[in-house]
């Protein structure tokens, strides 16, 4: 098989039968090229969807709404407002919940540093919220429990907020004014969701003392550990029914409190993701089949076309095995080189598209599963070899006089 002379014989045959070589190669290269494009696009689509789920996947959010039924002597339409008490209540209710955080958002808060000022999204939080949002620390530190306990006037600012307020200056250890009150900047963070880096986080305890009336919180959020969707839903229901007692609303009133179970959404997305994968796989299989049929067809024609040549070769002393090898090696050589070519071309196109196309929530970072693409190439090569083997074996074993009369 690695006989140099044999390869030279094959190469010279290929060189002198360019159209045949091109046609065989093209059908393989095209098949692999399409497959790579398909896999890459599927991947991009899946990544775009998964991207929307960069936050903690097991997080649960809930907050006060507006009652829709009269209950316990109250009219419908009453606002339910959560407080620190509720935060502590939930904290005591479950031992296995993590990162419990109360949050209060203050949009359009005026922030200034020296002569720079602007309106930003200010969020008062517990440290756990930083885990739920899955922010990434770039510089300094995140908020911690001491900040909460000691009512520290510290802020962690997002990357975009930092760029607007500080330009190129190092913000750590500098004081900014938030709604006129000086805060020490202790950290800078990044978030996969770019919009959320135009945000500043401050300790909720301090915010309640300075900016917010009473001890109000807007929402509670936590991560549910290893809980399943059903367990998490049960948790929400249980908390809601407790809150109904505390705040005097109908436990069956769905509008008195809102809640969001990230895990449920995540699983829905995963189902969609699975659907896309199956879709890509089915089309991929058909693409491979089309490639195999194409190569098989060409191999049949090649053997038919070469029957007379086979007869000549046999008449001057070619063994059947050397005839079969000649056809197989040529087929394998052409299909593997063409397959590789299609693979490289497809990957290159995917790369270019990936670079040129702005990332969106539906499509980003298309990439190719190389093992799959190479596996498909090998499949086509093997199929081409098998498709060539059967007629080649037949042609190699017929009597030369018959082969020679073939026109």
């Amino acid at each position: 098989m690695l006989d140099l002379d044999q390869w030279q014989e094959i190469l010279s045959t290929i060189r002198k039968n360019k159209l045949r070589t091109f046609l065989t190669g093209f059908s393989v290269a095209w098949g692999i090229f399409m497959l790579v494009i398909l896999l890459g696009s599927g991947n991009g689509l899946a990544k775009g969807i998964i991207y929307n789920f960069s936050d903690a996947k097991n997080s649960i959010w809930m907050g006060g709404g507006q009652t829709s039924t009269a209950y316990g002597g109250f009219n419908a339409g009453r606002r339910i407002e959560l407080t620190n008490e509720d935060y502590e209540f939930v904290d005591n209710m479950y031992n296995d919940i993590e990162n419990l955080s109360a949050r209060y958002g203050m949009w359009g808060s005026m922030i200034s540093y020296k002569n720079n000022y602007g309106e930003f999204d200010l969020q008062a939080i517990h440290p756990g919220h930083q885990v739920i949002e899955a922010i990434k620390l770039i510089d300094g530190r995140l908020l911690n429990n001491l900040d909460i306990k000691e009512y520290r006037k510290v802020a962690v600012i997002g990357k975009l907020a930092k760029e607007q307020i500080f330009k190129d200056e190092d913000p750590i250890g500098k004081y900014i004014r938030i709604r006129g009150i000086p805060f020490l900047v202790v950290g800078v963070f990044d978030d996969i969701h770019e919009g959320e880096t135009k945000r500043l986080y401050i300790p909720i305890t301090l915010a309640q003392k300075t900016f917010i009336t009473k001890n109000r919180v807007e929402s509670l959020s936590f991560t549910a550990g290893d809980a399943t969707v059903e367990e998490a839903t049960q948790m929400i229901e249980k908390i809601k029914s407790q809150m109904a007692k505390k705040h005097n609303f109908d436990p069956d009133d769905t509008r008195a409190m809102w809640s969001w179970n990230a895990l449920e959404d995540y699983q829905k997305m995963q189902a969609l993701f699975k659907g896309i994968n199956i879709f890509v796989m089915i089309i991929g299989i058909f693409t491979i089949i089309a490639g195999i049929v194409g190569v098989s067809n060409i191999m049949l024609i090649v053997v038919k076309e070469r029957t007379k040549e086979i007869g000549i070769r046999k008449a001057i002393g070619a063994r059947p095995s050397s005839i079969i090898w000649m056809i197989l090696q040529e087929s394998i050589l052409i299909t593997s080189i063409a397959g590789y070519f299609g693979l490289v071309l497809g990957v290159a196109l995917i790369e270019v598209v990936g670079k040129a196309m702005p990332a969106s929530d539906f499509f980003r970072n298309p990439g190719v599963d190389f093992t799959m693409a190479i596996g498909a190439t090998i499949m086509i090569v093997v199929a081409g070899a098998i498709a060539g083997y059967i007629p080649a074996k037949k042609a190699a074993n017929i009597r030369p006089v018959v082969a020679l009369h073939d026109e």
Binding site: K16, A315, P400, L404
Partner: protein, 231 residues
């Protein structure tokens, strides 16, 4: 050298049976120059194909050097075709995409001779045929006579004991035919057994022995009267 006893061959196509060879008995000694003649359909080409192991036969025996050639595997037959027999066809049967030198060298490729070495040998044989300057040309660029000389060089390159030629001058004009026959006579003088199938009288008369086939049997065997002048 070649011994054929009671050889029969029938072609079966569908429901038609064509009894082509009806009991051939033939002995050919080493170094003979023989022609097989007969009208078309007499079975002369079929006989030559059987001798060249390009075709099989139904009954009887066929020996080369006292070895029975019968129901041979294609692999074994390939060895005989390669080492013992050189075949020259009416339609040349050169491989169209290989140049003259590569065509001549091909039998040596199947003997495992290295590329450089077999190309050198092929050039030697082309030189003998007066075709050295055409070595790099494709068959399509050669005249009929040149193609046939390339084919003869190819048949000779493995130095077989037997050269078989099926109507080698059938596609050539008279002048070229005589040149080709000159070559066969030289080859024969060098010691190879040469068997030529032809329907041309002037070709057969330049051989040592003529075997006339009629309707699948040997009708007549005779030595030609030495003709005076062919050139």
């Amino acid at each position: 050298m070649i011994r054929i006893e009671k050889l029969h061959k029938t072609y079966v196509t569908g429901s038609n049976r064509l009894h082509v060879l009806k009991g051939i008995d033939l002995n050919i000694d080493s170094g003979e120059l023989i022609s097989i003649v007969g009208s078309s359909g007499s079975g002369k080409s079929t006989l030559l194909n059987v001798i060249g192991i390009l075709d099989n036969y139904d009954s009887g025996d066929y020996y080369i050097d006292d070895k029975l050639i019968k129901n041979m595997s294609e692999t074994k037959a390939a060895w005989y075709r390669n080492k013992m027999i050189g075949f020259v066809f009416q339609s040349f049967n050169l491989i169209a995409f290989k140049n003259a030198m590569e065509n001549v060298a091909l039998p040596l490729y199947y003997q495992g001779v290295a590329r450089k070495k077999r190309n050198i040998i092929a050039q030697e044989y082309l030189e003998k045929m007066g075709l050295l300057e055409w070595a790099e040309h494709l068959p399509s660029e050669l005249s009929g006579g040149q193609k046939q000389r390339v084919a003869i060089a190819r048949a000779m390159i493995s130095q077989p004991k037997i050269i078989l030629a099926d109507e080698p001058t059938g596609a050539l004009d008279t002048q070229t035919s005589y040149e080709v026959m000159d070559i066969f006579q030289e080859v024969n003088k060098a010691g190879m057994t040469v068997i030529i199938v032809t329907h041309e009288r002037d070709i057969s008369e330049r051989t040592d022995r003529i075997i006339r086939l009629t309707d699948g049997i040997i009708e007549q065997e005779y030595k030609p009267k030495k003709a005076a002048n062919y050139a």
